[in-house]
Symmetry: C2
Subunit: 135 residues, 2 copies
Protein backbone atom coordinates (compact mmCIF):
# COMPACT_ATOMS: atom_id res chain seq x y z
CA UNK A 1 0.00 0.00 0.00
CA UNK A 2 1.65 3.12 -1.19
CA UNK A 3 1.07 6.16 0.90
CA UNK A 4 1.13 9.48 -0.84
CA UNK A 5 -0.87 11.65 -3.12
CA UNK A 6 -3.53 10.17 -5.27
CA UNK A 7 -2.29 11.45 -8.57
CA UNK A 8 -4.87 12.00 -11.28
CA UNK A 9 -3.70 8.85 -12.95
CA UNK A 10 -6.23 8.18 -15.65
CA UNK A 11 -3.93 5.96 -17.67
CA UNK A 12 -6.22 3.70 -19.61
CA UNK A 13 -3.54 1.40 -20.96
CA UNK A 14 -1.52 0.15 -18.04
CA UNK A 15 -1.11 1.00 -14.40
CA UNK A 16 1.88 3.11 -13.50
CA UNK A 17 3.14 1.72 -10.22
CA UNK A 18 6.11 4.06 -10.10
CA UNK A 19 5.49 7.20 -8.05
CA UNK A 20 8.38 9.39 -7.04
CA UNK A 21 6.17 10.97 -4.42
CA UNK A 22 5.67 7.69 -2.61
CA UNK A 23 8.06 7.18 0.23
CA UNK A 24 9.00 3.60 -0.50
CA UNK A 25 9.04 3.64 -4.29
CA UNK A 26 12.30 2.58 -5.91
CA UNK A 27 12.01 5.49 -8.28
CA UNK A 28 12.96 7.68 -5.34
CA UNK A 29 16.34 6.02 -5.24
CA UNK A 30 16.85 6.40 -8.96
CA UNK A 31 15.84 10.04 -8.77
CA UNK A 32 18.20 10.56 -5.89
CA UNK A 33 21.10 9.15 -7.89
CA UNK A 34 20.33 11.63 -10.65
CA UNK A 35 19.51 14.63 -8.51
CA UNK A 36 22.02 13.97 -5.80
CA UNK A 37 24.89 16.26 -5.20
CA UNK A 38 27.02 14.93 -8.07
CA UNK A 39 24.64 12.88 -10.22
CA UNK A 40 23.29 15.69 -12.34
CA UNK A 41 26.69 17.26 -12.92
CA UNK A 42 28.20 13.92 -13.88
CA UNK A 43 25.43 13.12 -16.32
CA UNK A 44 25.55 16.55 -17.92
CA UNK A 45 29.32 16.43 -18.14
CA UNK A 46 29.09 13.19 -20.08
CA UNK A 47 26.35 14.65 -22.23
CA UNK A 48 28.31 17.77 -23.09
CA UNK A 49 31.43 15.77 -23.84
CA UNK A 50 29.46 13.77 -26.36
CA UNK A 51 32.05 11.03 -26.20
CA UNK A 52 33.24 8.51 -23.64
CA UNK A 53 35.27 10.10 -20.89
CA UNK A 54 37.94 8.63 -18.68
CA UNK A 55 37.63 8.73 -14.93
CA UNK A 56 40.11 11.55 -14.58
CA UNK A 57 38.43 13.53 -17.34
CA UNK A 58 35.09 13.40 -15.59
CA UNK A 59 36.79 14.42 -12.39
CA UNK A 60 38.42 17.38 -14.07
CA UNK A 61 35.11 18.55 -15.56
CA UNK A 62 33.09 18.09 -12.40
CA UNK A 63 35.17 20.50 -10.40
CA UNK A 64 35.49 19.68 -6.73
CA UNK A 65 34.36 16.07 -6.76
CA UNK A 66 36.54 13.63 -4.87
CA UNK A 67 37.70 10.29 -6.21
CA UNK A 68 35.48 8.55 -3.73
CA UNK A 69 32.32 10.41 -4.68
CA UNK A 70 33.01 10.16 -8.39
CA UNK A 71 33.56 6.45 -8.07
CA UNK A 72 30.38 6.03 -6.09
CA UNK A 73 28.35 8.29 -8.36
CA UNK A 74 29.49 6.51 -11.52
CA UNK A 75 28.85 3.16 -9.86
CA UNK A 76 25.30 4.12 -8.89
CA UNK A 77 24.59 5.49 -12.34
CA UNK A 78 26.01 2.42 -14.00
CA UNK A 79 23.91 0.17 -11.80
CA UNK A 80 20.78 2.11 -12.71
CA UNK A 81 21.52 1.73 -16.39
CA UNK A 82 22.36 5.38 -16.97
CA UNK A 83 26.05 4.99 -17.65
CA UNK A 84 28.07 2.38 -19.49
CA UNK A 85 31.51 1.57 -18.18
CA UNK A 86 33.97 0.20 -20.70
CA UNK A 87 37.34 -1.29 -19.89
CA UNK A 88 39.87 -1.02 -22.69
CA UNK A 89 42.55 -3.67 -22.44
CA UNK A 90 45.40 -1.46 -23.40
CA UNK A 91 48.58 -0.54 -21.65
CA UNK A 92 48.16 1.28 -19.48
CA UNK A 93 44.60 0.07 -18.90
CA UNK A 94 42.00 2.61 -19.68
CA UNK A 95 38.41 2.87 -18.50
CA UNK A 96 35.83 5.10 -20.11
CA UNK A 97 32.32 6.12 -19.13
CA UNK A 98 29.54 7.03 -21.54
CA UNK A 99 25.82 7.62 -21.31
CA UNK A 100 23.60 4.64 -21.89
CA UNK A 101 20.40 5.28 -23.89
CA UNK A 102 18.47 5.79 -20.69
CA UNK A 103 21.14 8.16 -19.41
CA UNK A 104 20.88 10.11 -22.60
CA UNK A 105 17.15 10.58 -22.05
CA UNK A 106 17.50 11.89 -18.53
CA UNK A 107 20.45 14.02 -19.59
CA UNK A 108 18.10 16.12 -21.66
CA UNK A 109 16.04 17.62 -18.81
CA UNK A 110 19.10 17.78 -16.61
CA UNK A 111 20.97 19.82 -19.15
CA UNK A 112 17.98 22.11 -19.56
CA UNK A 113 17.93 22.57 -15.83
CA UNK A 114 21.59 23.52 -15.59
CA UNK A 115 21.20 25.83 -18.56
CA UNK A 116 18.28 27.64 -16.94
CA UNK A 117 20.12 27.99 -13.68
CA UNK A 118 23.22 29.34 -15.37
CA UNK A 119 21.31 31.85 -17.43
CA UNK A 120 19.05 32.90 -14.55
CA UNK A 121 21.72 33.08 -11.91
CA UNK A 122 21.52 36.88 -11.75
CA UNK A 123 17.81 36.61 -10.96
CA UNK A 124 18.57 34.10 -8.24
CA UNK A 125 21.21 36.29 -6.69
CA UNK A 126 18.89 39.26 -6.81
CA UNK A 127 16.12 37.26 -5.17
CA UNK A 128 18.54 36.20 -2.46
CA UNK A 129 19.58 39.76 -1.80
CA UNK A 130 15.95 40.83 -1.49
CA UNK A 131 15.16 37.91 0.78
CA UNK A 132 18.14 38.55 3.01
CA UNK A 133 17.16 42.17 3.40
CA UNK A 134 13.84 41.35 4.99
CA UNK A 135 14.97 38.40 7.06
Amino acid sequence: MMAGMTSPDHAPHEPLPADVFARGCSSRGALQHLTGRWGALTIVALRLADEPLRFSEVRRRVDGISDRMLSQTLGDLERDGMVVRTVHSTIPPHVTYALAPLGLRVADPLQQLTAIIESELPSVLEARALYDESH
Copy 2:
Protein backbone atom coordinates in the same frame (compact mmCIF):
# COMPACT_ATOMS: atom_id res chain seq x y z
CA MET B 1 30.21 26.43 -25.06
CA MET B 2 31.94 27.54 -21.97
CA ALA B 3 30.56 25.05 -19.56
CA GLY B 4 33.20 22.82 -18.14
CA MET B 5 35.97 24.87 -19.58
CA THR B 6 37.46 26.61 -16.62
CA SER B 7 40.20 28.48 -18.34
CA PRO B 8 43.50 27.94 -16.60
CA ASP B 9 44.50 31.57 -16.57
CA HIS B 10 42.05 34.41 -16.34
CA ALA B 11 41.35 37.56 -14.39
CA PRO B 12 39.88 36.72 -11.00
CA HIS B 13 37.10 39.28 -11.08
CA GLU B 14 36.15 38.91 -14.68
CA PRO B 15 32.36 38.74 -15.21
CA LEU B 16 32.41 35.13 -16.31
CA PRO B 17 29.15 33.45 -17.17
CA ALA B 18 27.71 31.15 -14.55
CA ASP B 19 29.19 27.67 -14.69
CA VAL B 20 27.65 24.89 -12.63
CA PHE B 21 30.79 22.86 -13.17
CA ALA B 22 32.95 25.42 -11.40
CA ARG B 23 33.49 24.59 -7.78
CA GLY B 24 32.89 28.05 -6.36
CA CYS B 25 30.09 29.25 -8.63
CA SER B 26 26.90 30.27 -6.84
CA SER B 27 24.91 28.37 -9.41
CA ARG B 28 26.11 25.23 -7.70
CA GLY B 29 24.18 26.22 -4.61
CA ALA B 30 21.05 27.02 -6.59
CA LEU B 31 21.33 23.72 -8.43
CA GLN B 32 21.79 21.94 -5.14
CA HIS B 33 18.60 23.45 -3.76
CA LEU B 34 16.74 22.14 -6.79
CA THR B 35 18.42 18.76 -7.11
CA GLY B 36 18.83 18.12 -3.43
CA ARG B 37 16.96 15.41 -1.70
CA TRP B 38 13.64 17.28 -1.47
CA GLY B 39 13.96 20.24 -3.83
CA ALA B 40 12.88 18.52 -7.01
CA LEU B 41 9.95 16.73 -5.40
CA THR B 42 8.73 19.93 -3.78
CA ILE B 43 8.92 21.88 -7.01
CA VAL B 44 7.17 19.21 -9.02
CA ALA B 45 4.50 18.82 -6.36
CA LEU B 46 3.73 22.53 -6.63
CA ARG B 47 3.78 22.28 -10.40
CA LEU B 48 1.37 19.36 -10.52
CA ALA B 49 -0.97 21.00 -8.05
CA ASP B 50 -1.19 23.98 -10.36
CA GLU B 51 -2.42 26.12 -7.48
CA PRO B 52 -0.99 27.43 -4.24
CA LEU B 53 -0.56 24.74 -1.63
CA ARG B 54 -0.55 24.98 2.11
CA PHE B 55 2.37 23.74 4.14
CA SER B 56 0.54 20.62 5.23
CA GLU B 57 -0.61 19.92 1.70
CA VAL B 58 2.93 19.95 0.38
CA ARG B 59 3.95 17.70 3.22
CA ARG B 60 1.21 15.26 2.39
CA ARG B 61 2.17 15.15 -1.26
CA VAL B 62 5.88 14.82 -0.69
CA ASP B 63 5.60 11.62 1.24
CA GLY B 64 8.19 11.12 3.93
CA ILE B 65 9.47 14.67 4.27
CA SER B 66 9.79 15.99 7.79
CA ASP B 67 8.52 19.36 8.96
CA ARG B 68 12.06 20.49 9.41
CA MET B 69 13.21 19.57 5.92
CA LEU B 70 10.08 20.91 4.27
CA SER B 71 10.50 24.18 6.08
CA GLN B 72 14.13 24.41 5.11
CA THR B 73 13.50 23.33 1.52
CA LEU B 74 10.71 25.85 1.03
CA GLY B 75 12.84 28.52 2.67
CA ASP B 76 15.78 27.84 0.37
CA LEU B 77 13.55 27.81 -2.69
CA GLU B 78 11.84 31.01 -1.62
CA ARG B 79 15.19 32.68 -1.07
CA ASP B 80 16.33 31.65 -4.55
CA GLY B 81 13.21 33.14 -6.09
CA MET B 82 11.68 29.81 -7.05
CA VAL B 83 8.76 29.84 -4.65
CA VAL B 84 6.45 32.56 -3.40
CA ARG B 85 5.23 32.34 0.18
CA THR B 86 1.94 34.07 0.94
CA VAL B 87 0.54 34.63 4.41
CA HIS B 88 -3.20 34.97 4.61
CA SER B 89 -4.22 36.80 7.75
CA THR B 90 -7.16 34.67 8.61
CA ILE B 91 -8.06 32.58 11.60
CA PRO B 92 -6.63 30.07 11.75
CA PRO B 93 -3.59 31.49 9.97
CA HIS B 94 -3.08 30.18 6.52
CA VAL B 95 0.15 30.13 4.51
CA THR B 96 0.38 29.06 0.91
CA TYR B 97 3.27 28.33 -1.39
CA ALA B 98 3.27 28.71 -5.14
CA LEU B 99 5.84 28.61 -7.90
CA ALA B 100 7.38 31.93 -8.87
CA PRO B 101 7.98 32.47 -12.59
CA LEU B 102 11.50 31.22 -12.22
CA GLY B 103 10.30 28.19 -10.31
CA LEU B 104 7.86 27.47 -13.08
CA ARG B 105 10.68 27.43 -15.59
CA VAL B 106 12.81 24.97 -13.68
CA ALA B 107 9.75 22.88 -12.86
CA ASP B 108 9.50 21.98 -16.52
CA PRO B 109 12.71 19.95 -16.82
CA LEU B 110 12.25 18.60 -13.31
CA GLN B 111 8.84 17.27 -14.15
CA GLN B 112 10.19 15.73 -17.34
CA LEU B 113 12.87 14.06 -15.29
CA THR B 114 10.46 12.54 -12.80
CA ALA B 115 8.19 11.43 -15.61
CA ILE B 116 11.04 9.66 -17.38
CA ILE B 117 12.14 7.96 -14.21
CA GLU B 118 8.65 6.79 -13.40
CA SER B 119 8.01 5.45 -16.87
CA GLU B 120 11.46 3.87 -17.15
CA LEU B 121 11.60 2.42 -13.68
CA PRO B 122 11.26 -1.13 -15.01
CA SER B 123 14.35 -0.58 -17.15
CA VAL B 124 16.20 0.75 -14.14
CA LEU B 125 15.25 -2.23 -12.01
CA GLU B 126 16.26 -4.59 -14.78
CA ALA B 127 19.61 -2.83 -15.13
CA ARG B 128 20.12 -3.14 -11.40
CA ALA B 129 19.37 -6.84 -11.46
CA LEU B 130 21.85 -7.36 -14.27
CA TYR B 131 24.46 -5.30 -12.50
CA ASP B 132 24.00 -7.12 -9.22
CA GLU B 133 24.39 -10.46 -10.95
CA SER B 134 27.87 -9.70 -12.15
CA HIS B 135 29.16 -7.78 -9.15
